[in-house]
């Protein structure tokens, strides 16, 4: 996995908490910094894709690794 500036472990949390926590964490980050989110909610795959499209933050990577979902989001 590529480099990131901050990490958010949203494992065990269900919709819409992973998105809300990610948004809050991004708010405190600087433009072009990268946030790594870890989640276990299968719905988060489509949700982070939709979140990125609607907020203009770039979803750099989205992958599953041994039951966990990993997202790299670059703040716009």
């Amino acid at each position: 996995m590529a480099d990131f500036d901050q990490e958010l472990d949203a494992s065990g949390l269900n919709c819409p908490l992973p998105i809300l926590r990610a948004k809050k964490t991004l708010n405190a980050m600087a433009s072009s910094q990268v946030l790594h989110v870890i989640a276990t909610d299968p719905g988060s795959v489509k949700d982070f894709d939709a979140f990125a499209k609607q907020t203009g933050n770039e979803l750099v990577e989205s992958k599953e690794d041994s039951g966990k979902f990993h997202f790299l989001i670059k703040k716009s």
Partner: protein, 159 residues
Amino acid sequence: MEQKKLAIIATKGSLDWAYPPFILASTAAALGYEVQIFFTFYGLQLLKKKLALEVTPLGNPGMPMPMGMDKWFPVLGLTLPGMQGMMTSMMKKKMQSKGVASVDELRDLCQEAEVKLIACQMTVDLFDLNTADFIDGVEYAGAAAFFEFAGESDICLYI
């Protein structure tokens, strides 16, 4: 791009129905929407500082019941005293074990994200509700005020 707007009318005051307005409002706010929720009738219960929301299986054949109770347990049995409290605590436990946020938490997140919470003044008066029991930051208004925002909204939901 102009900020999108979401207008919600929340009319129900049970534990299960407390979720849709707060989940959608908090998520929309995270996506950059300006959001207002207009609470009327039983929805006003969702504004109380001390939430005492319950869920009832009565009149709700779609509610999944533990241990296949919906198959063998007579509907009349659901009217027994204490049944609603039991169902409520089971539902809360289930939600916690699945990582679903509490209503309090989602409501806090809405307020943090500057979702505007508006109580219908007419139903507050109708039910003799004490506004001192409501959380801080609630505004009081009527139908015309709702339309001022809803008329400009991109999405408008009645829940």
